[in-house]
Symmetry: D2
Subunit: 423 residues, 4 copies
């Protein structure tokens, strides 16, 4: 690749800002955490904050610096074993459920590792990397942003296990909003449409290729389901009626005795919920969050509706600006819907929206060669697609084509729902 020097310099300056901004945000997220907070692991699904901070740095060291920065000195040879995640190609790994036992290296040592890598990365970026390398760095930034969201949801889960219910950020009064009123349903014609990423700008491998799909006419709610609506479902026995539930979902009910969303607690007849700002009363007007796919699906059955497919969701969001309550604003809780607009509201931010689409490869999808190829393809089994981002998602991270995915029993993400129906 020869390249245009001027363009490369401009690119490199943008990339430098991007890299620096993403990395700085991680540091900022670590701010409220003690060494112990950053070390503990509350369940096998979660990772310690220290691990998120180190693993994302390991990505840059292993994927970018080692093959591309001659003379780069590895910070600590043991880190490859400690902070590799699922990349089977790279070698043996520390077992995931034991990540919380890595009290050393300390949080300070991890921050030093980050600083060491940042120096080398900034030098590499200043050198004007070629397009492939710049793309890889960009991938590393998006990868780090994914872990920024997980760091928040994992810390929330950790703090929720503690009887003292620590607040990640200081509690802050939230103005009680008016109820957003009944949802309106926006109609779409469907037809033979195209969805998926078309290749302009960054996207994860699983977002493409862009492809045709046939969608029947449908209607989709113009806002997210609220806590008030969820309480009506609970009051009506929603968690006790097996006919509303998928068989595996009912199995979860019987095993885990779910009676409310994760983190909800009944305190003398009022619902409170653990949040990143400590225990707070449940706001009836705000979108429900921390519900599993099974719960979302059961709620939709109870409401006489269904969840949208990911194609329907993508079609409905096509003309909606990517704007909403993301993590940058620091609210860290979903926000009640604003006034009706005639179109879909709350498509981005607030809560990830469960769709009824299993996470499968798009037609024509190919797994990339090498370690980067392990990115998303290997998870295309047993998970459902969520769309739109949440109040814990970094600000410039999602797109209309963005596909998040989790197993249907998971509840520790900021996951909620929007209803749909056949037209």
């Amino acid at each position: 690749m020869t390249g245009n020097p001027v363009r490369l310099a401009r690119q490199s300056s943008t990339l430098s800002q991007r890299y620096s901004s993403v990395r700085g945000h991680s540091r900022k997220l670590a701010g409220p955490l003690s060494d112990a907070d950053a070390t503990a692991q509350s369940m096998a699904d979660a990772s310690p904050a220290k691990w998120h901070l180190a693993h994302t740095t390991w990505f840059f060291e292993t994927m970018v610096l080692k093959p591309n920065a001659p003379g780069y000195r590895v910070f600590d040879e043991t880190f490859n074993f400690l902070f590799n995640s699922y990349y089977e190609t790279i070698g043996a790994r520390h077992p995931r459920p034991k990540r919380g036992l890595l009290t050393r290296p300390s949080l300070d040592a991890i921050l030093a590792f980050r600083a060491h890598v940042d120096v080398a990365m900034e030098a590499l970026i200043a050198d004007g990397p070629d397009r492939a390398l710049a793309d890889l760095i960009e991938l590393g930034c998006h990868h780090e942003q994914q872990h920024q969201e997980l760091l928040l949801t994992d810390i929330l889960h950790l703090f929720a296990q503690s009887p003292v219910r620590p607040a990640y950020r200081d509690p802050e009064p939230v103005a009680v909003a008016d109820d957003p009123g009944d949802a309106d349903y926006v109609a779409f014609e469907g037809g033979l449409i195209e969805i998926g990423h078309d290749g302009a700008g960054f996207a994860f491998d699983c977002e493409g290729p862009r492809h045709k799909t046939y969608v029947r006419p449908f209607r989709i709610a113009d806002r997210l389901v609220t806590n008030r609506e969820w309480m009506a479902f609970m009051t009506d026995g929603g968690y006790r009626d097996p006919l509303l539930w998928l068989a595996d979902g009912w199995g979860q009910i019987l095993e885990h005795r779910w009676t409310a969303p994760l983190y909800w607690e009944d305190r003398d007849g009022a619902w409170w919920s653990m949040t990143l700002r400590g225990m707070q009363p449940v706001d009836p007007s705000a979108p429900v969050t921390h519900v599993s796919y099974f719960e979302a699906d059961a709620f939709a059955s109870w409401a006489g509706k269904r969840l949208p497919t990911e194609a329907e969701w993508e079609l409905a969001s096509a003309d909606v600006p990517v704007d909403g309550t993301f993590a940058g604003g620091g609210r860290l809780r979903p926000r009640p819907a604003g006034p009706p607009t005639g179109g879909p509201r709350q498509m981005f931010g607030d809560v990830w929206e469960w769709t009824r689409s299993p996470f499968t490869p798009y037609p024509g999808f190919k797994i990339a060669e090498g370690a980067v190829g392990e990115y998303n393809g290997k998870f295309m089994c047993g998970q459902f697609v969520l769309r739109g981002g949440s109040c814990a998602t970094p600000d410039d991270h999602v797109r209309a084509t963005y596909r998040n995915f989790f197993q249907p029993d998971k509840r520790w993400q900021f996951s909620g729902l929007r209803l749909a129906e056949d037209a």
Copy 2:
């Protein structure tokens, strides 16, 4: 419903033959089983043969006779509790993993229950049931056929646990076939096609509604993957290379140490397999069977191909007669492919073919009201669609639109695969 007496009589005569034929086949399947064979349960996924024989009869008693046959005397009031399966609407159930502890009622008592219900059913059918009732009886017959296949696969699993490896039917030499040679790939144009059942003749609820779907050009193998090909995969380290596997599949490998299909045993360097006719040498020319979705998917990756979607499979089978190695012939093992025909061979019978399609509701699918509504919809999560039937499927049971489904780790069904690729 007034109806046409002549037509009803003819219908009723056909239905009577159908009912009698299906019920007789179950009795015949029970023939080689002792009381103990019919009682044992080898794993939570399987049910005792006695349970299959009773549960299918319970369906007719509870769904058909009790609401429709005035004066019908229930055979034994406790059977509703014992032999209800997943019908949460009908009441409490005996816990599934403990079905093998029901040593009473005996196999003889279950056969008496069957005879009692058959007398009442034959009388009801002779009375000329209206269309809705005839449809319900037809559903009961198809339901029983599903359990006939499960009875065989569950007995095979049970007998495979025993060190004495009992044969369900007498071993019988199988002529060693010539290798079918390389598979040919048959090309299809795809486009905006229709799949699903159109309403003529019986189909399960999940097979409809018929609907449009867009399919890109593809090519599909004209025969099933053989044991010889599978051995090449094994020899090439297929079970040891994590890059070929879905993450959850690799987890199965690590946990269960799979190194070959279920029931295969290495005896002094030669592969043998437990079958319904006892331990037999693996026939290299025959289709591989008893592989999980995870294995099928890994094999396809290794071969540089992929599994077909269910839409592709249905398109490819549209003009193929529903004919093949089903259970009726008594072979009870998949048969090597016959000579090339220019089109897809072995589409029906031999082995169920894993598709890459998760089992999801077709657009417009609605769950029926009442207990019958619990049929398929509640399982639309975490399972993959298999197509085409197997050597354990009753002869007149499947269709091109038939959707079978199992979790991706299951191996005790006669499940195999056919490869496909993008055109």
Copy 3:
């Protein structure tokens, strides 16, 4: 060994009667069982009746006939693998929790195996075995008697899992007895006494050697604890007060939610219990049974007493005839105490009595060489001694020195208790 021919002949005649009587009793116990009843295994602690019938026969074939009966033809070579139990020296074994999957060989085949071995055994006994061989045959008879009791307790456990609650023997009214009144406490001086078997007559290895032990003055109840007393414990919150319980016992309460002895069911406010004669009302005057060591110990704490040690029990029983409610009478349930006698009543039969003594080797105990050495020594860890036999123990099986042993959480034996206290 030369021996005295006359004495050997007499011995051999006695041994022949003994062998024939024990073996016949097993056959009689199998009488009420179907092939399926005899095959099922309700938990890992239990074994199928068929297994008990075969394993005891395997003992005679493997330990007695194969080394001592020239020309003996092994009935079936696979049985060594199937019916060996814990004898690691003899070779690989079928995994214990999967014994219930051995539907073949059938109960009839096992009975044929028994007949085959009996013919050879009777011939061997008629030949006048030497003393060592006679002792081994005697050991085999006592071994079979142990399994006769387990066969009954395992069948009771199996039938209790079934919603239809089958009765092993026909229900039979039990005359309601008067309450036996308060227990009296019989005082013993103790001192430096001797316990253990002195070598005259048969005893298991763990019953010796006879040895000195120092016992402080104590008092022991003259009868077993009754169901009425147990109900008082329950009513007083015995199952809810952690201070009454050993830590591991309280763990069982929390995990298994015990609120009553095993098999008890509250039917409209009255206590019923599953028995070998089907569901029966709990008789308040009869001894409580099916309680664990943890429960027995907690009851004793609640009563302000303690369980006796095994030395105390053996001292107290020294002059009591070995007589009581054993299995031979066919009652198969413990019997209320008769009128006071001034000494300990119910020392033998009715229920095994938990002592507070862990099962440990007596001073000077040595494990025998070879497979017979695996008999009891390897279980001397984590179990408590029970004394006196039960209503399911064969009539001529126990002695004052007999040591039974089970883990402290086990409840499916006929296990009860008698209180004691320091003088």
Copy 4:
């Protein structure tokens, strides 16, 4: 209680020194630990260092200060819930396996809690507590010493889970000692002896009452079993011969695949072991440690000996000064035996010695009233007694009558063995 003011003052001065010395030692043990080190919990059997530091302080606050120090201000009301351990009488507890999730309060906060309690305790002690209160404070000191040892063994277990194998204290070369040569066996006559604490000076409840017991003549090894001897056992197939093992021990072998003591690693053919001073070569002359009761018992069987009973051990140690390698010296590893003395060596310190005695109540033992009564009695089930203290035991903590106890599968304590045999 009136008391003698002079004597109380002297007592109080001694008690003050004792309290201060014990509390200071805990602080010193915490010195090398980071906040994260002190928070993590490596298994359910272990507790975080922070928990040990807080729980021992909670004992003084709850048992001593709250009932006895008017005006005492509780440091933090939530700590009762967080740092109560097994005292069911005191109220609900944080679940033990989740102690590692308590990242707050921090180590610094726990140290502040300690300082707060120490101020109040010192004032209380200066006031001259009466005898009962002084005894309670003494109990608190001994309780804290028990946790000091656990803190060390739990940290060792935690650090052994980390691939970087952190050293708790700096590695320090250990002079390689000469092999101590064959063990001599010291003979004891036994007879009707007395064991147990006689009431002079502090002892835990379970050490008394002193009582008669009959001991047969025996011989006991004059030193501990060494690593060299253990390697001979390993080389001779000790871990592969089921006949050497208790049945439950063999179960552990099959489940956990033990092939060497805990923490041993084969590095290129040489044995290394994780220690509190990091990975170190195994010293063949030093006593073996980190073996379970099952292993100790199997080794004794292999050696043709047995483990001593606790009565034998106590008799053998009666005239041996309580002196040896305890934690105070800072070696933190067992030391090879010194030259023969004609009597038993290494009876105190180095490693806890497994005895063959289950942990049971001594004759006449009564559980005390109230929370203190929960001390030891509730653990008298399923554990074996260990004697003599270890290299991690505080210097002035054990006595000849001291009874430590653990389940027979536990290996993370400094547990070893000494052989014995019948005379």
